[in-house]
Symmetry: C2
């Protein structure tokens, strides 16, 4: 198996991008990544996307994009694992290079969610849940996460306000990210008094519906110096995907993200690391409750202590375990199938020292975790900056 390196990154701003079609969004991110890597062609393009069929009337998206960016003829495929589609596509790209079946691979995440009516987009997101056992009974994604948050508050006697540090931190960090959708600070008071969407979840617990695209270029690590125009090379130290039941009611303990535990701990083993070795963590804060459950399952906080970790200040840029360093899903935005690639791009920015005002002092080992559904598909990547 060949080691794999990331030698190019690209991204579009995240937001309500009504002047860009799906193919233009993909184009902009892919071309940016190719320019960053200094390449003019590639062997394959894998695209993470969840909703192009449902919301855009377009499947076969990867082949469309390959042609549209000038790479007609190369291999192309779309990879889907709900909101974890981006990281799932990343894994396929890694396998293509690791196996030797491809040398230069582009992985993109693309999503357009704002050209449809809100109820259409909400229905689209529900495709990630169990159609027969959850959606047909009226559950939306928001409702499922609201039940998880309420259960957590009950089980661990935690008030809603204890979740404030997560969106407050995300919005603070988004101010340093020129591509963030909501680059403005919010106060704890604003969080507490935000309009409730599905109790106990309020607007500030929820990541926004938005458009965006991000891309990376992968090559064999032993040839990485030929690319990237002298920028620091980032090596994929571990890539692991694990799954759980789609339907939340099928889990023995809905407050334990089994798939986050499995994928993170296998990733630690593959990389020869422990949670203490992770310098920062781009986690999947689609809702505040997911940040807390992820931190606990990945071994960064004991069960029931995830909110306390937030309150301790450890998650800030100058803390022990900075998270959502460029704004996270909450404030950078969550264009679902693209999110997993935005996370990878942001980890690379930190490892390269390109994170601007948000640059971490110690950024040698970064972790990204992308979650599909209410914890059903969880994919963990550990990336290391090469000396």
């Amino acid at each position: 198996m060949r080691d794999v390196a990331i030698v190019g990154i690209g991204q579009t701003p995240v937001g309500e991008l009504w002047d860009k079609s799906l193919r233009h969004l993909g184009h902009d991110a892919i071309v940016a990544a190719m320019q960053d890597a200094g390449i003019e062609t590639a062997d394959a393009l894998y695209v993470g996307n969840m909703l192009s069929g449902e919301l855009g009337g377009q499947e076969h998206l990867a082949t469309l994009l390959a042609d549209f960016v000038g790479l007609r003829g190369i291999e192309a495929a779309k990879i889907e694992a709900a909101c974890a589609s981006g990281a799932a596509a990343m894994r396929v790209g890694i396998m293509a290079v690791a196996s030797g079946m491809a040398d230069v691979v582009i992985v993109a995440g693309v999503e357009k969610m704002t050209d449809t009516l809100p109820h259409e987009t909400t229905a689209g997101l529900a495709l990630a849940a169990d159609q027969e056992y959850e959606v047909a009974e009226g559950a939306t994604f928001l409702a499922l996460n609201a039940m998880l948050m309420r259960r957590y508050m009950y089980e661990y006697r935690v008030p809603h306000s204890a979740f404030a540090p997560f969106p407050v931190n995300a919005h603070k960090n988004a101010q340093g990210n020129p591509n963030a959708m909501f680059p403005m600070a919010i106060s704890v008071e604003r969080y507490i008094n935000a309009p409730v969407v599905a109790p106990p979840i309020n607007v500030m617990d929820s990541s926004p519906i938005c458009d965006g695209a991000a891309a990376v270029v992968l090559v064999p690590a032993d040839r990485a110096k030929e690319y990237g125009q002298g920028k620091r090379i980032v090596r994929v130290a571990a890539s692991v995907s694990a799954t759980d039941t789609l339907a939340v009611h099928d889990r023995r303990d809905p407050l334990f993200l089994e798939a986050a535990y499995l994928s993170s701990h296998r990733a630690y083993t593959l990389a020869g690391l422990t949670p203490k070795d992770i310098d920062f963590f781009e986690l999947h804060d689609a809702f505040s409750i997911m940040s807390v459950l992820s931190l606990e399952a990945c071994g960064f906080a004991p069960r029931g202590q995830g909110t306390a970790l937030g309150e301790s200040g450890a998650i800030a840029l100058d803390g022990e375990l900075p998270i959502t360093t460029m704004g996270g899903l909450k404030a950078r935005g969550h264009p679902v199938g693209a999110t997993g690639i935005y996370q990878i791009v942001e980890v690379v920015q930190q490892l390269r020292g390109e994170a601007g005002t948000n640059q971490l002092k110690h950024a040698h080992v970064g972790m990204a975790q992308n979650i599909g559904g209410s914890g059903a598909t969880i994919i963990t990547h550990i990336l290391v900056g090469e000396d």
Copy 2:
């Protein structure tokens, strides 16, 4: 790179399976393949599927199926490349094993197309075409193929009746396939007089809308003898994917399947073979015209001579290049995202000597080709039976 072998196959009957839900279809094929391979678990499940979101309200399908077949926790992802989704998933499975990132991988193709109204299914299939440049202008898949067929007839002065050998051969072969949707012979007269759907395409030129699922189990070739319970081992000699424009009007020569040429000829090179070494060919006869264009692009007939190859009898079970040996898309059926895996399963049946009354005398090297859209994604696999 590790060589990859197929050690298990499974399939459901193809048809209007109203008593089986999407998850039950996938379950039946996957469990059959696991039993055939003699395995009780696996490292990953990749699912080829095109329309579960659009027609079934269910994305995140691979994770759902992993849980439903008793493999909760393993990696899972859905792969989509329109009607080539099955072969695209096959490629991901091969990369997972070849890279060493997985040892035992299940690849399934699953599709359910008959629980929706015909116009809904037709709209679903159009997701494979260019939404902005073809579908918005009123094109359906059928219309695009009808234009290709008419152009071929004009360009090469070929009458419609010259295409008869392809559906006649497919239906003849389907009689020996217990899983075929239409296992009945048709005469040339019946072909010629069949109701026209979109001139010049008639019902007998067109593969049916249907449900079905198929699955294979992949392992490293050097460990293949541990699996498959003594059955003949089948090795993946080549796996190549290539693409073209989604929109047919963007192609310089719409009658030349550039992606079929690229993927087949790269596959010949990888396998160290020429077209003459291919003992039989499971091609993508979604419409009769596609059979002809595929045979020409892959080097089995000169341009404009594809129908003559059919008329020569070479495509029959006892001919020089048997095609659609188990009925093809036309008569076995075309559950779109599953078709690529049905083709692989049928090649394995022939290579193992398990094709019953359709068993070929010389079946050592088999080729399968899966086409997405009107030739936009074309994936070729060459499989070899080990001695």
